[in-house]
Amino acid sequence: MSEVMLKIENLHVTAEGTEILRGINLEVGAGEVHAIMGPNGAGKSTLSNVLSGRPGYEITAGSISYFGEDLAALEPEERAAKGIFLGFQYPVEIPGVAAMSFLKTAINAQRKLRGEEELDARGVMTLVQGEAKKLNIGADMLKRSINVGFSGGEKKRNEILQMAVLQPKLAILDETDSGLDVDALKLVGEGVTALRAPDRAMIVITHYQRLLDYIVPDFVHVLAKGRIVRSGGAELARELDQLGYGDLAKVPAA
């Protein structure tokens, strides 16, 4: 295994008094793509929220280490600056803030936290426009208020654009494929694949095999009732696609 980037051990998480994650163990190395699959309500979004530091969850046991650092001790923006990116299942609308200026603010906020020099308006523009082109995102979309009136496909492409521009070390993509038609799925899938790099890891959360036709994972994990109940290679995803989650959910954790 390559350098361990993320190490989750025996992670238990509750929200509003209910235990949602019940002992997750997962190791993610640099350059690897892990797919997490599982039925609705399994805890997939909860895991991505906890990794990115969303308020409202309590870690009752276990630990998350990221490059050897205790992730739970960091604010969400610190995690972002250290390279954690969450592609949201439901990207939120921000009225009055154009996609371009949002990105400029985000890039420079992260740079500032890392003690790097800020990028000027022209630098940001060049960077964003270059990446936008690859995702078939036009200049007019960058001027519109972020996610306001965007179609499902536009929202998800915009998430991938942000990922491309922010260059994270660990990208967590939560159901990036949901609500996409075939063409949009291809665009997003290829966009993500293009971002695979030896120093970047990805956790791709999905319900279906179809996204994994484009992003071929190194590992596939099945999450059910707050536990990883099976792990395997890319073939596991295809197997699941045929058999469904029904039986797997019954398999007790190893």
């Binding site: 990115s52 530091g53 969303r54 969400p76 939120v92 921000i94 985000a106 992260q110």
Partner: protein
């Protein structure tokens, strides 16, 4: 008519014993504490005012004595003791105003610099003519020559009383009469200084005009009076910025602004108000009781008010338009931000008198902490205002659970052809939006600033460039500590 000898002596004694300024070390001259006819006479005498001006002040004073403080606004503050304040303070020696920046006390310029107004540079770079008001006396006016070339008069109101009495007599009080309301009447009696602008027929003012008002001396109420006249076919954009140092006690600010717009003329009036809002517990801060009103007297005339209100402990302010001329247009674009214990009751009045008059209102209220924000607006269509139209949009954004936002729209329609539209929304700054921003690297404060700026964008866009950047920063600063 001179002030009584006694008053003058008292004032001089005070000036002597007052060695140091409070924030800026400049000696000030005060009128004795309190308010009576003698004080009014004293102020007038200090300014060498003609008799008609003193008479007007005295009429206002006598009227004010019979008036009661209004109670209808949704604001709550302890009774103000009007006798426990100074009604006149002037930096010493400024009766002979400096002719150029070199003559200005460097200490004073430094104070402006601290406020982010490096007078010399900023004025040059931005091409802004700045008439800076320090306490009650206008200190320096730049760019006067350039304006004189095209016939624009831009000076302090005291100067206008001396130099252009015919214009002042004709228009002063013609929009806000001295008997208008408690605070405006008080202002009429004791106004200390302010700005006068006259743009002659057919002239497009070649630069943005700007005044920074500043309260500096302790216990001093500030009563500016602004009068702007746009003659036929002229245009002027005027920027007003306000700020005040931190103090524990409350200070009263009761200004009056009058705008007069003749045929085919336009005034764009922008304010960024950042008076000290008081501390977290609500101690100190400015009481901002302002009467701003414009008269669209001519056909096709237009007034546009844009305001960003972030400061003051209590704000009571309704910039209004009287749409007399046929086809005249009134606009009001407002951002009112309250945090901690601030209270704002603000809005506008659009009075449609002429035919085919139009008005547009966009009011954005943001409340955080324990603050209370009220939009109070009147749209009134008179019987002869055939074809009048109004569109009002009021949006409130709440940050946290302890603040309040209220919308009080009054609509009076006496002409059946009128078209009035009113939209109102109230929303809460969502956790989802906050987390989305933070996940992308913004800290909580930067996230709030970004979200609120987005919420206010329509109004921010109405501000002149020089102010828009400042206003955006101010939005962030004034909401510091509102989350997390």
């Amino acid at each position: 008519m001179a002030a009584s000898q006694d008053t003058i002596e008292k004032a001089e004694a005070l000036g002597e014993s007052y060695k140091h300024g409070f924030v800026t070390e400049i000696e000030s001259e005060f009128a004795p504490k309190g308010l009576n006819e003698d004080i009014v006479r004293y102020i007038s005498a200090r300014k060498n005012e003609p008799e008609w001006m003193l008479d007007w002040r005295l009429r206002a004073y006598r009227r004010w004595c019979e008036m009661e403080e209004p109670q209808w606004a949704k604001v709550d503050f302890p009774q103000i003791d009007y006798q426990d304040a100074y009604y006149y303070a002037a930096p010493k020696g400024y009766d002979d105003r400096p002719k150029s920046l070199d003559e200005v006390d460097p200490e004073l310029l430094e104070t402006y610099e601290k406020l982010g107004i490096p007078l010399a540079e900023q004025a040059m770079l931005a091409g802004v003519a700045v008439d800076a008001v320090f306490d009650s006396v206008s200190v320096v006016t730049t760019f006067k020559d350039k304006l004189e070339e095209v016939g624009v008069i831009f000076c302090s109101i005291s100067e206008a009383v001396q130099e252009h009495p015919e214009l002042v007599r004709k228009y002063l009080g013609s929009v806000v009469p001295y008997s208008d309301n408690f605070h405006a009447t008080l202002n009429s009696a004791v106004f200390s200084d302010g700005t006068f602008v006259y743009v002659p027929e057919g002239v497009r003012c070649p630069m943005e005009l700007s005044t920074y008002f500043r309260i500096n001396a302790q216990h001093t109420g500030q009563f500016e009076r602004t009068l702007i006249i746009a003659d036929k076919g002229s245009y002027v954009s005027y920027l007003e910025g306000c700020t005040a140092p931190m103090r524990d006690e409350n200070q009263l600010h009761a200004a009056v602004v009058e705008l007069v717009v003749l045929d085919d003329a336009e005034i764009k009036y922008s304010t960024v108000q950042n008076w000290y809002p008081g501390d977290k517990e609500g101690r100190g801060g400015i009481y901002n009781f302002v009467t701003k009103r414009g008269a669209c007297r001519g056909r096709n005339s237009k007034i546009s008010w844009t305001q960003v209100e972030t400061g003051s402990a209590v704000t009571w302010k309704y910039p209004s338009c009287i749409l007399q001329g046929d086809n005249s247009v009134g606009e009001f674009f407002s951002i009112a931000i309250t945090n901690n214990r601030q209270q704002a009751d603000t809005g506008t009045k659009m009075i449609h008198l002429g035919r085919n008059t139009k008005s547009r209102i966009i009011a954005k209220g943001i409340s955080a902490g324990h603050s209370q924000s009220t939009y109070r607006g009147l749209v009134s269509v008179h019987p002869k205002a055939e074809g009048a139209r109004n569109h009002t949009q009021c949006d409130s954004l709440l940050i946290g659970d302890e603040c309040g936002a209220h919308t009080v729209p009054y609509i009076e329609v006496k002409n059946p052809s009128a078209q009035i539209e009113h939209e109102a929304t109230t929303s809460k700054l969502s956790e989802e939006q906050l987390f989305y921003c933070r996940q992308r690297g913004l800290d909580a404060e930067a996230a709030v600033a970004l979200l609120v700026n987005g919420f206010c964008k329509e109004v921010l866009q109405k501000l002149p460039m020089e102010f828009a950047v400042e206003a955006q920063k101010l939005v962030g600063v004034s909401l510091e500590g509102s989350v997390g």
